[in-house]
């Protein structure tokens, strides 16, 4: 069992938790992920590590309550325990020798982009951070990201915070103004990463994306997280989660990630009703 040391509601849909997991905290590098189960008989879900505090032995996860499991997790309070928490899994994001990087975060993807940007910043790399959200209420980690970025560009779909528009608009502006990068690192919804890659292909900017497919074991055993990169089948858990975005078959990935969408919706609604029922009777 793993204790929730600290819980923060970042916005109505997004929760941050620090979990007591010293062995994971000691080892985790930006870009790696963990697999957790909320309770006995729960499903295993992967979440990318948002931050670590090795001295305190804690690992930070940031997630949106989009499915039954994340909804259940979001209902847990400080001091509560979760059943399983295993990691760190996957490879660390490659940062060696990078001097100037554009980091693109979409929505809760900013939570994954943040530790990578922080590491780059600490090693003296120039960081241009483009953060995109639906609207002002969805914005997370603005101050944290500003602190470790040489330029921080906030955009929202409706213009209620920062620039109006999507991350690719902001990135295109940067590129058109003559900015060039050793690498573009993008993490967020698949469709966003796909469009970032379509854009950077034109500008010949090497682009790395962090993939988060459906996974079970996270150690290479099940092959459920496979995706096509170039002409090869790769497993996100052991070969990734970072891949050359210009080689990833996003269309296939979007289909694969949607396999259980109807089921997930149903399970989410059921769990919602369960909590509502508990609230009414409790």
């Amino acid at each position: 069992m793993y204790r929730i040391i600290k819980k923060e509601i970042l916005n109505p849909a997004t929760t941050s938790m620090w979990i007591d997991a010293p062995a994971v905290a000691k080892k985790a590098q930006p870009g790696q992920f963990i697999i957790l189960r909320v309770d006995e008989d729960g499903e295993r879900i992967p979440l990318t590590i948002a931050d670590t505090n090795p001295d305190e032995g804690s690992v930070r996860i940031i997630f949106q309550a989009v499915g039954a499991t994340t909804l259940k997790l979001s209902q847990k309070q400080e001091g509560d325990f979760i059943q399983d928490f295993a990691g760190p899994l996957g490879n660390a994001t490659f940062t060696n020798g990078l001097k100037k990087v554009a980091v693109i975060g979409g929505g809760v993807g900013c939570a994954i982009a943040y530790p990578v940007a922080k590491k780059l910043h600490r090693m003296g790399c120039e960081v241009h951070f483009v953060a995109g959200f639906r609207n002002r209420d969805a914005v997370i980690l603005q101050e944290d990201c500003e602190k470790i970025s040489d330029r921080y560009i906030l955009c929202t779909d409706d213009g209620s915070a920062g620039k109006k528009g999507v991350v690719t608009d902001a990135l295109k502006e940067l590129l058109d103004s003559g900015e060039r990068y050793d690498e573009v690192f993008a993490v967020g919804p698949l469709i966003m990463m796909k469009f970032v890659c379509d854009l950077t292909r034109i500008y010949r900017q090497k682009t790395v994306v962090s993939m988060n497919p459906i996974m079970i074991d996270g150690t290479g055993m099940c092959g459920g997280c496979r995706l096509t990169v170039g002409n090869a089948i790769c497993f996100a858990c052991v070969d990734g989660p970072d891949f050359d975005g210009h080689l990833v078959d996003f269309d296939e990935m979007m289909k694969r990630n949607g396999v259980y969408r109807d089921w997930e919706r149903h399970a989410y609604d059921e769990t919602c009703n369960l909590f509502k029922g508990a609230a009414n009777h409790g």
């Binding site: 062995a23 994971v24 080892k27 189960r37 008989d41 729960g42 499903e43 295993r44 039954a68 499991t69 059943q83 399983d84 928490f85 295993a86 990691g87 760190p88 899994l89 079970i216 074991d217 150690t219 290479g220 055993m221 099940c222 092959g223 459920g224 496979r226 995706l227 096509t228 089948i233 497993f235 052991v238 078959d249 269309d251 296939e252 289909k255 694969r256 949607g258 396999v259 259980y260 089921w263 399970a267």
Partner: protein, 466 residues
């Protein structure tokens, strides 16, 4: 018992096929007392005991069978556990027909003794009796780490614990048992049996640490330097599923057998309230002909598929699966397309599998494996109607440990190289099971774990003397 009767073995009571295709309940129900005693009475108690020589873990078979015929199944259990850490598992999943039972003297003129069924009877008797498990012996204060809680790891851990070692087993998943819990289906090996075998090891003093991925959470070097272990056994299994490389293998509705079985067995997707789903399929095609292919096909049937077809590129004769598993699958209505190889999995507009293009094969000269090589028949393409394809063509060793540990030599296929004692190229690090051999059987892995335990014992004793 009349001589004529002594020629025939007691049949195993099984759930009828019609009933079992709707249920994950164990198919083989096990002998009752009178069946077990009758079967045990057939044993000739041969002096030279050819069966013992054929047992990978050298169980004293005639002695435990005598105990059963004398009405002492608990005594039989004790005899078995002198040599084996997992009797209830082995009695169910060992290929006895090609091991102990294949050389049984009774088998020359009639049926060989049903050794596996008797082993299972003794182990099940012990479990149901509630008799105490053997307790932990005096500790010798030497700490050994075992990586992986599958058959080789459990066997190694049990053997070392009986010799007084303090053993910690590290498991990457949330539950101990390895392939016994994620791979082998409930109807062949109920998970509560694996749990009680693990509980027996815990009462011997073995500690289990789940959610711990060696190579990630800790490296092998950290186990030595920071955690204070004196020797390590790697039994991490043959993890990575192979795909055949044909177009369409990443379509929705295409699974590795590992994923399909893990969702069902470990994550219990077959239960109505499971939080891990598996998409219902109408027509399932399974590629491959081994035991795992049979397991996947039988699971698919139970999950409600109308039609399940195993597609195998060689003929019935070369089928690598155990005869018993093949027969079980046939009884349950699984179809077989022999001499058939897939060329491409076809897609619908939404990216789901909706058929598999195949071609007929014919058998040519034997290849390196000694089996006749399948050769495509020109212009023999045809489409197998399917909305779910399960790829069961084997696995390759998981590189998580070898890629993060210096000094462990692997072969071309990624298997760990060991000497005759199971020691790797790195002193103090031993390995066994599928991580060394590639995919094999539970009992071979157990045998490797047991041999390595003896070698670890010698290694520690030698170190003390040095």
């Amino acid at each position: 018992m009349a001589d004529q009767q002594k020629m025939r073995r007691q049949p195993m009571p099984v759930l009828p096929p019609r009933e079992r295709v709707h249920s994950f309940a164990e198919v083989a129900r096990g002998y009752d007392e009178s069946e077990a005693v009758l079967e045990a009475a057939r044993c000739l108690n041969c002096k030279n005991a050819p069966c013992v020589k054929k047992c990978p873990v050298s169980i004293d078979i005639p002695r435990f069978i005598q105990k059963i015929s004398q009405g002492d199944p608990e005594g039989a259990y004790s005899v078995i556990t002198e040599q084996s850490s997992l009797p209830a598992v082995c009695g169910r999943v060992c290929p006895q027909e090609s091991q102990c039972e294949s050389v049984c003297t009774r088998g020359i003129k009639g049926d060989s003794i049903a050794i596996g069924r008797l082993e299972r009877y003794a182990a099940d008797y012990h479990r149901k009796s509630g008799n105490a498990n053997p307790s932990a012996p005096q500790k010798n204060n030497h700490r050994i780490a075992v990586i992986g809680s599958g058959p080789s790891g459990l066997s190694c851990a049990g053997e070392l614990a009986r010799r007084g070692y303090e053993v910690t087993v590290f498991e990457a998943l949330h539950q101990a048992g390895g392939v016994l819990v994620y791979g082998i289906p409930e109807f062949r090996l109920p998970k509560n049996i694996v749990k009680s075998e693990i509980a027996a090891l815990e009462s011997l003093g073995v500690t289990f640490r789940t959610n711990t991925i060696i190579g990630k959470t800790y490296t092998v070097d950290e186990l030595f330097d920071e955690e204070g272990f004196e020797a390590i056994f790697i039994g991490s299994g043959a993890g990575l599923p192979r795909f055949s490389g044909i177009p369409g293998e990443s379509l929705c509705g295409v699974y590795s057998a590992n994923e399909f079985l893990t969702r069902t067995n470990l994550m219990k997707a077959y239960l109505p309230d499971s939080s891990t789903p598996i998409r219902p399929a109408r027509k399932v095609a399974v590629i491959g002909g081994g035991n795992v292919a049979m397991d996947a096909a039988r699971v698919a049937k139970r999950l409600g598929a109308k039609d399940v077809t195993i597609v195998y590129r060689r003929s019935e004769e070369e089928l690598p699966a155990r005869r018993e598993e093949y027969e079980n699958a046939m009884e349950e209505g699984v179809h077989f397309q022999f001499l058939t190889a897939p060329i491409q999995i076809l897609s619908d507009v939404k990216g789901f599998a909706r058929g598999m293009l195949c071609e007929k094969m014919t058998l040519g000269e034997p290849d390196v494996s000694g089996r006749r090589r399948p050769i495509p028949v020109p212009d023999s393409d045809f489409i197998v109607d399917t909305d779910c394809v399960i790829v069961a063509i084997g696995t390759s060793p998981n590189p998580l440990i070898t890629s993060t540990t210096d000094g462990i030599i692997t072969n071309q296929k990624g298997g760990i190289e060991t000497d005759e004692n199971g020691m790797t190229s790195r002193p103090g690090v031993f390995a066994g099971g599928d991580a060394v051999t590639g995919a094999a059987t539970v009992i071979l892995a157990m045998s490797a774990g047991k041999k390595a335990a003896a070698a670890i014992d010698r290694y520690i004793q030698n170190k003390k003397e040095a």
